[in-house]
């Protein structure tokens, strides 16, 4: 367990900024309790200072997980978000997409979102923007990247792709062993 290097934190924050924009600073500097990002076996965790200090007593090899896993660094140095980061992403998301009930399941099985399933979308969402997906009852169910901007979405046919799949809550069941 160690803090992120400068390059790592740059890559990491760039990815977060795609979803929550400047709200990243709210994650970094919390008012209630000091939190920090820690890297352990190429996974990045969001931990409160207290837990982080307690976990320093545990040898690195034995430490399986701590705090909330935000994602992992690939061998080539890219950062991949995990579905476990959804709580924080949903809280601070800049652009949101609401999914119609009939295509919720399709999304949760790992499919892309089609125009037919698009319930609502934040005004002025550009294309290729990280978005968090919600059910119509405001329960977060994953995140992805928009294929089209809000403006373009209006004129699309129902089978057209709207949001590319990145992560969905179904992964809690599908990828249980590698997730945390």
């Amino acid at each position: 367990m160690r803090p992120l290097t400068e390059e790592e934190s740059k890559v990491f924050f760039e990815k977060l900024v795609k979803f929550i924009g400047k709200n990243v600073t709210l994650l970094i500097q919390r008012k209630d309790e000091p939190y920090c990002f820690r890297i352990q076996k190429n996974k990045v965790y969001y931990v409160s200072e207290e837990i982080m200090k307690r976990s320093q007593n545990i040898p690195r090899d034995s430490l399986a997980s701590l705090g909330t896993c935000f994602g992992r660094f690939t061998k080539s140095g890219k950062f991949k978000l995990h579905i476990t980061a959804l709580d924080y992403l949903a809280q601070y998301a800049k652009y949101k997409v609401w999914v119609k009930p009939q295509s919720e399941m399709s999304w949760m099985y790992g499919n892309n979102l089609l125009k037919a399933g698009l319930g609502r979308i934040t005004e002025d969402t550009p294309a290729n923007q990280g978005v968090v997906l919600f059910t119509m009852t405001d329960i977060p169910i994953g995140f992805g990247v928009t294929a089209k901007s809000t403006h373009e979405c209006r004129k699309l046919d129902p089978p057209a792709l709207v949001v590319y799949h990145l992560c969905d809550v179904g992964e809690y069941l599908r990828d249980e062993e590698t997730l945390f």
Partner: protein
């Protein structure tokens, strides 16, 4: 046992010439020091083609006979075991069997002494000791003029109270010793480095050495790249050039490991810097707003224009 003489077996009539027993003019070039003779005469093609083996055998026999008879003409020396022929000096240069031995790498002092022309003087093992008035070894146990083997020392005005001059002397001596050790180590390091480096050695292009050769070249290139004032930062890049490998420790963003507040401050700064670079303007949104505003103005213009022209005109059209 009877000794068979070669000249008995050979046809005596054939070799009437008593000088060398060979019926042939002696055109050979001799190098008796190497027990060699060279026949430069041209081959008789007719007899060679008729029977090559016989021709060559004959030629060789005659030439060897010539060489041997020359050997017997050499000055002789008799020793207990028999008679020796004294060979002249070799005239044909023959290459060495092994490579020349490599010279031992010079120490710094040796290199310096060579430049300065300082020569090593032979020191005698025994030296005259003035105090004891006898010859003593130059170094080692009970050596001559030993400065440390004194039981008293004169106090100097610079001496401080509490300092032990004897201890000081020993310390100085140990200091010198350790410095010499360092010099020896340095000489050793330098010479071994020179041996390791491929400078001045021929490259081995064999297939199994190719990977090593390539990585060596890459390494040399990396080193050479640093040899500018900017450490290669502003150099013109070659096509498909690899970036310099990063050396040294990775810099941790929150170097005050454990101090979370400092760390989060650094992270905030980093994010701020990212936003400064990023273009804040949302082009799509701006364009849309602009288009909308124009449409609205057009609409207002149209409406106000139609009112000023008068309603009845329009009404009549619609009717």
């Amino acid at each position: 046992m009877t000794v068979v003489n070669a000249s008995d077996i050979l046809d005596n009539n054939k070799f009437a010439n008593a000088g060398h027993l060979v019926d042939k003019s002696d055109t050979l070039i001799y190098d008796l020091g190497n027990l060699c003779a060279f026949d430069h005469s041209s081959i008789n093609i007719v007899s060679y083609k008729a029977n090559a083996k016989e021709y060559i055998d004959n030629l060789a026999t005659e030439n060897v006979q010539l060489l041997v008879s020359r050997l017997f003409q050499l000055p002789l020396k008799t020793i207990d075991e028999g008679t020796l022929a004294l060979l002249p000096k070799c005239t044909t240069p023959i290459p060495r069997e092994r490579a020349l031995p490599e010279s031992k790498p010079k120490t710094r002092w040796e290199a310096f002494a060579e430049i300065k022309g300082i020569k090593k003087k032979k020191k005698s093992r025994m030296e005259w000791d003035k105090k004891e008035e006898e010859f003593r070894p130059t170094y080692g146990y009970k050596r001559a003029n030993d400065e440390t083997a004194v039981w008293e020392m004169n106090a100097k005005p610079t001496d401080k109270v509490g300092d032990d001059p004897f201890q000081k002397m020993i310390d100085e001596k140990n200091d010198k010793l350790s410095k010499q050790k360092q010099r020896e180590q340095r000489n050793f390091d330098e010479s071994s480095m020179r041996q390791m480096g491929s400078v001045g050695k021929s490259l081995d292009f064999s297939k199994d050495k190719r990977a090593q050769l390539k990585s060596d070249l890459d390494h040399t290139f990396d080193v050479a790249k640093l040899a500018t004032a900017s450490l290669g930062k502003f150099d013109k890049q070659v096509e498909n050039e690899k970036a310099l490998p990063k050396r040294g420790k990775k810099k941790l963003a929150g170097l005050g490991a454990g101090d979370v507040s400092q760390e989060s401050e650094n992270a905030t700064k980093l994010v701020d810097r990212m936003f400064k670079k990023e273009n804040v303007l949302n082009v799509d949104k701006a364009v849309r707003q602009h288009v909308k505003a124009e449409e609205k103005q057009n609409y207002i213009k149209k409406r106000s224009g139609s009112f000023s022209k008068g309603g009845p005109n329009k009404k009549s059209k619609s009717k």
